[in-house]
């Protein structure tokens, strides 16, 4: 004990000397002094103190290595990145910080990528920059580590933003994103076109003033004041309200208004996505379809009326049931051919020459028995059915009693335009048939021709029963002076 006491007694002098020497040499950077409330640590700051503060404040991790690759200093950011206190990092080898191979200093002074091992077991992507420096005769390595997870996250966010933006750009609907206060934060290209300028920053109701399409839906829309509509659109699902835009440029166009909440990662509603879909074409198509169904209904009734009329008249002029059957079938066939023509030409009309060729095909129009000659004329659709029936009657008569009933008989059909091309004159001339006695037949065929030409074609028919063959002259209007009668007059039963 005596020896120990002696050493203790000698210590203060040696220690004081040693302390002064250490301070003098710069080997200490803090001293402890006795203050009024106990010991206090006083830092002995050198010229490098400001840099030390800066390094401690850096957002990047920083460390220094000695010549052996051992860590001698780490800043607080690196401690945060690894999750370890400084004293558990200092003294370790540099390579022990990383999962996988440790980064090396690059010749081009650029950073390299590495995976920093965290205390929680996760790896953190970092970008590592290193440079060796000679400091007071000792080689040290300065290292910075940048947390790339933030940058990666930022890149992911930027990519997601670009992705969302490209969706907005490509969208064929007007798509806008609303904040909770109803102001537009994003708008698709179509939405900008619809608003006439960029609507970003405006309230939805200001950028897109709406009227409901129907009275019932106007009620839905007017339940909201302008402000409450903005709020409703921004917070509640809103589906399928047909609206119009109160904008002259958009007059006559219809839109479907829909909206749904926009939810963030924390499942909180942060706004909404509202779309305005242009349904004008769809509505027009619906209206057209309704019109077509009505038109089809109308035409079916017309056809039935015609069939009924033809049946009645054929029955009255037929001597027997087989004769009725033959005549009725022929006439219905003529109606059918006329309808085929109308369907094929989409009810636009047909060239007169083509009509003659089609209707008279069963009677030898292509075999030299029937010749046709005249200028090109486009017939309106309304003329197709009555003309088909007239031509069928003429051809049937010719094949039963006239030129086409004889082996060498012929029919010459010619026409010309008159009355400033508004009317057409057609001449049906039969030659080479049996000699016609008396004034010819005034049976149903001629009655039908007369009625159809007068009432359906707004024209007149002259039938000349000459001995050497029938000559029939038809004159009728090519264009309707007034709206054509929907039900042909020929379909009205004679009293």
């Amino acid at each position: 004990m005596a020896g120990k006491d002696a050493r203790q007694a000698a210590r203060p002098r040696n220690e004081a000397e040693e302390t002064v020497e250490a301070i003098h040499r710069g080997n200490v950077d803090a001293v402890v002094v006795q203050g009024p409330s106990g010991p206090q640590v006083i830092m002995l700051q050198g010229a490098d103190a400001p840099y030390h503060v800066l390094v401690e404040r850096m957002s990047d991790g920083a460390l220094t290595l000695d010549a052996d690759g051992s860590i001698v200093y780490v800043n607080s950011r690196l401690c945060a990145l690894t999750g370890l206190p400084a004293d558990q990092i200092v003294g370790r080898t540099f390579s022990s910080l990383f999962a996988g191979s440790a980064p090396q200093q690059r010749a081009d002074d650029a950073a390299s990528d590495a995976q920093l091992q965290r205390v929680d077991g996760d790896d953190l992507p970092v970008s590592v920059w290193m440079r060796q420096m000679a400091m007071g005769g000792v080689v040290a390595t300065l290292v910075t580590l940048t947390d790339m997870s933030i940058q990666r996250r930022a890149e992911e966010v930027a990519n997601a933003e670009r992705f969302a933006r490209s969706i907005l750009e490509q969208a064929t609907d007007a798509v806008v994103v609303l904040a909770l206060d109803g102001r537009i934060t994003h708008a698709s290209w179509v939405a900008e076109q619809l608003a006439g300028r960029t609507p970003v920053g405006q309230l939805f109701s200001a950028a897109f003033p709406l009227d409901a399409q129907s009275a019932s839906q106007q009620g839905t829309l007017t339940r909201f004041s302008r402000e409450s509509l903005d709020r409703a659109l921004a917070t509640k699902p809103f589906h399928g309200v047909e609206v119009r835009l109160r904008d002259e440029r958009m007059s006559g166009r219809s839109f479907l208004l829909s909206g749904g909440p926009l939810v963030n990662d924390a499942k909180e509603t942060v706004g909404s996505i509202v779309t305005l879909t242009d349904i004008t074409d769809r509505k027009r198509a619906e209206e057209q379809q309704t019109m077509l169904v009505a038109e089809l209904n109308h035409r079916v009734k017309n056809i039935l009326a015609i069939v009924q009329s033809v049946a009645g008249q054929t029955l009255r002029t037929s001597p027997s049931l087989p004769a009725f059957n033959k005549a009725f079938s022929g006439r219905i066939q003529a109606v059918s051919i006329a309808h085929d023509i109308l369907t094929q030409t989409r009810w636009i009309g047909i060239g007169f020459n083509e009509l003659l060729t089609t209707v008279l095909a069963p009677y030898g129009v292509g075999e030299g028995r029937i010749s046709i000659e005249g200028p090109p004329v486009l017939l309106e659709a309304r003329l197709v059915l009555p003309l088909s029936m007239v031509l069928h009657e003429l051809a049937t008569n010719a094949s039963k009693y006239g030129a086409l009933s004889a082996p060498f008989g012929q029919v010459a059909i010619s026409w010309r335009l008159c009355d400033d091309r508004r009317r057409l004159e057609l001449v049906w001339l039969e030659r080479g048939g049996p000699v016609i006695e008396g004034s010819g037949s005034r049976g149903f065929g001629t009655t039908l021709i007369d009625r159809v030409v007068r009432f359906d074609l707004d024209g007149e028919a002259e039938l000349d029963f000459a001995r050497d063959g029938i000559r029939c002259t038809l004159r009728f209007a090519l264009t309707a002076e007034t709206a054509p009668e929907q039900v042909p007059a020929s379909a009205v039963l004679p009293h």
């Binding site: 040693e18 200490v28 950077d29 001293v31 002094v33 106990g38 030390h52 200093y73 780490v74 200092v90």
Partner: protein, 98 residues
């Protein structure tokens, strides 16, 4: 190593630092390296941060930072500075170079 063995052969070291001052971190790094080289498995280091609790300076009458105290084996020894002069530290701690 058992506590008894540590009592006999081990080095019980206590390093006083002031947060992460350059000399403090250098002293810890130098000490760890030196112990691993010359006293593998035969040492313990207790780091005391006087920035957190300056009152602890009284226990070993610390006046400068960093300061290394050799508690065991006796006698108590102290070395002031960043321990960068390994030879001086080995002599100061009575460690024979291996």
């Amino acid at each position: 190593m058992t506590a008894a063995a540590m009592e006999q052969d081990g080095y019980n070291l206590r390093l006083y630092v002031a947060g992460q001052t350059p000399k403090s971190v250098a002293a810890l790094a130098n000490l760890k390296k030196l112990c691993e080289t010359h006293l593998p498995g035969r040492y313990t280091i207790e780091v005391i941060d006087l920035m957190k609790d300056p009152a602890l300076a009284q226990r070993d009458q610390i006046v400068a930072i960093p300061t290394l105290i050799r508690q065991l084996p006796e006698p108590l020894k102290r070395i002031i500075g960043d321990l960068s002069n390994a030879e001086k530290v080995l002599v100061g701690l009575d460690i024979a170079p291996s």
